[in-house]
Subunit: 262 residues, 2 copies
Amino acid sequence: VTTVWLDGALVTPAGAALSIDDPGVRWGEGLFETMRAEDGRVPLLGRHLDRLEASARALGLAPMPGRAEMEEAVAAVLAAAGRSPARVRLTATPRPTLLVEATPEEPLPPGPPGVRAIALRGAWLPGNRIAEHKSLSNLALRDAARRAARAGADHALLLDESGRLGEAAIASVFCAVDGEAVTAPARGLLPGVSREIVAEALGAREEALEEAAWRGAREIVVVNSLRGAAAVVEVDGAPVGDGRPGPMARRAHEALREALAA
Amino acid sequence: VTTVWLDGALVTPAGAALSIDDPGVRWGEGLFETMRAEDGRVPLLGRHLDRLEASARALGLAPMPGRAEMEEAVAAVLAAAGRSPARVRLTATPRPTLLVEATPEEPLPPGPPGVRAIALRGAWLPGNRIAEHKSLSNLALRDAARRAARAGADHALLLDESGRLGEAAIASVFCAVDGEAVTAPARGLLPGVSREIVAEALGAREEALEEAAWRGAREIVVVNSLRGAAAVVEVDGAPVGDGRPGPMARRAHEALREALAA
C-alpha cells in the first residue's frame, strides 16, 4: 500500500500521473530523494532536502517546489501512512512538480547483513559531474543494478577504467584497508547522506583505491540511508576478507541506526 | 497545436500523462526519437526505429512497444496532424508505454543558417556508454544546452577533459580540416541518424580533434535530423574560418534535405 501526495493533495495511487510536458518526464530533468521514515517522521529529512536544493541550484533547475511545501507534503503523507517504518520517495521537477510517496518498509536489521556484489569496470566516470546529483536521469545506475541482478548479485561496484573503486549502485562504499576506513572522493558519484554520516563515524579518509587494494580489503561495506549498512562478503564470486560481516560493517550500521532513529 | 497518441489512441494533449510507476518517469528509463515529417510521413522513420530498438536491446529494456505498434502510432498521428512539416517525437519505455507527439515545424531553410556556439570542456565523456543512447536520462545534454542559451549561443560544443571535440547539444559535429571532413568516433556520444547520412555524403573520417585543430578548422558544421545542417560561424566569440557558412555546410545541408524528402 503506497500513500501518494501530488501537487498539493493526497491522491489515489493508481491514477497518479505526471504530464508529458513535465521536464522530468520529457528529459529526466528533476531530482529525487529516497528516505527512511520511523515512527511517523523522517529523521534525516533536513539533510536530504539540503542536498536536493543544492543540486537544483547547481543545475539551474527552476522553478522548483519550495522547502515548506516539501516538508508539508512529507508530513501529510506520513500522517496518512501511519507510524510503521516506511520508504519515502520525494520527487521534484522544475515544472514545478512535487510528488511524495510512502511505502511500508522492513524494520532495520539489528546488524549488517552479508551481501554479494559484482564489479563493473568503466561504470564510474570521475569526470561526470551530473552523476553527483540524485536525478531522474538515472539510467546508468539502473543499468548497473540490472547487470548485478542478472548475475545473481545484490550490488554492483562501479570502477573507473583503471579498476579504481568509486561507489555502488545504489549505495556508497567503504573499505577497511590497513586498519583504516577508505571511501572514494565524491567526484562523479553521489555525495550520499549516509556516506557523510558513516565517514564521520569511521573517521574515513578519501581515496579511490586501486583494484589490488580494494580487492584485498579486509572488509567492503555498502551504505545507504534507507537500509543502513551491509557487508559485501563476496565480489565476483571471491570472498572478501574472511567472508563474513566484520567490525567496520557493524560500526557503520550502528552509526546509521542511531542517525535514523534520532 | 500538438497531436498526441498515447498507448493505443489519439488523446487530448492537455490531459496526456504518464503513470508515476512508469520506469521512464521514475528513473529516466526509456528512449525517444525526434524526427522530421514532411508531406504526412517520416522519411527516416526506419532508421530512427532501428536505432531505438538497438538501444533497447543493448540496455536490456523490456517489455518495449513493438515495431508495428510504433509505425502505426506515427501514421495515426500524422494522419490527424496533416501534411505540413512537423516535428515528431516518439517516446518508448519498458512499461511498455508508447507516446507519439507531432508539432508543426518550420520548413527546412534552403541553405545552412549561421549559428553561434560555446565550448564546454569536460562535458564529453568518451567512456560514457549510456550517452550512446537517446534516452530519457537526458539531464547532461539539457544542462549543456541551458548553459549555451544563458551565454546567448545556439549550441554547446562538448569537449573531453583535454579539449578534444566530441558532439554538440543537441547535434552531431563535422569539421573541415585540411580539405577533409572530420567527426569524432561514436564513443560516449550519440550515433545520430543525421551523422551517418552526412558522414557518408562528405566521406568523413573519424577522429576526436585536438582543441587547436578544431578551433583552427575552416568550417564547423552541426547537423541533426530535424533541422538539417547549420554552420557554426562563431565559437566562444571568435569567428570560425571566414565567419560565414561554407561549402561543407552547404553539402551537409543538401544531403540532409535529400534524405528528409525521400
